[in-house]
Symmetry: C2
Subunit: 138 residues, 2 copies
């Protein structure tokens, strides 16, 4: 139930927030730009402004409900935060996004931070490449 998630996050239960949460949880894909979300709202006949989409996504991020990524596409990408940290491999041809996690890399990152004298707050690893499908249709 989306309303519970919102209340738990300290956010009032409003139609835009519920609808956006539904889309993010819909599961067709996991990674959305603000524009992606906005388009899906339009398709669903919801009259929710783009400014609200940006506002709500940022609030969700602050509340820890979603994670924001900076793929090198020029815009932010959001996904539900399921508590499972992972990294991304992005197809530079078709935009497909796959996820992975490597414990060895995770551990090494901590060591590197310490060695450099940093207190690590976050990290992200992006691998860019050409996915299997795009290699075929070359």
């Amino acid at each position: 139930m989306e309303s519970q998630d919102l209340r738990k996050a300290g956010l009032k239960v409003t139609l835009p927030r519920v609808k956006i949460l539904e889309i993010l949880e819909s599961g067709k894909t996991r990674h959305f730009s603000a524009e992606d979300v906005y388009k899906q709202l339009l398709e669903a006949g919801e009259e929710i402004g783009l400014a609200t989409v940006y506002r709500v996504l940022t609030q969700f991020e602050t509340a820890g409900l979603v994670t924001r990524h900076h793929f090198d596409t020029g815009h932010s990408v959001f996904e539900m935060n399921l508590g499972n940290h992972h990294d991304h491999i992005v197809c530079v041809r078709c935009g497909r996004v796959d996820e992975f996690i490597d414990e060895t890399i995770e551990k090494l990152q901590h060591e590197i931070s310490e060695k450099a004298g940093y207190k690590m707050t976050d990290h992200c690893l992006y691998i860019y490449g050409v996915c299997q499908d795009c290699q075929k249709s070359e």
Copy 2:
């Protein structure tokens, strides 16, 4: 000699390109936004337009002279390409940037790409954290 580098890259030797190359090579810092470069040009009394700075930096990137990074600051950051791939650790407080390379991580990235069926073209690892200085002045 900057003119040689430019000619080798197939670019005509123009004052903006020489001056920008000088700044990038100056060595005070290694990571510059377009705005950073533009400001240094102004300070040096050069009347070079911001549009030219962007144009030239992109040309340098295409020519392989510089590398472009997408820290999550909302703007591109450029540095001379010295042929030594490395990753970055960025202070979220003061913007300081340190560099590192970890061969184990590099190797693991290749393995991950293969496993996922991707032909890797590029990768970047950003660690965000609070640097030593910023931890003190808390």
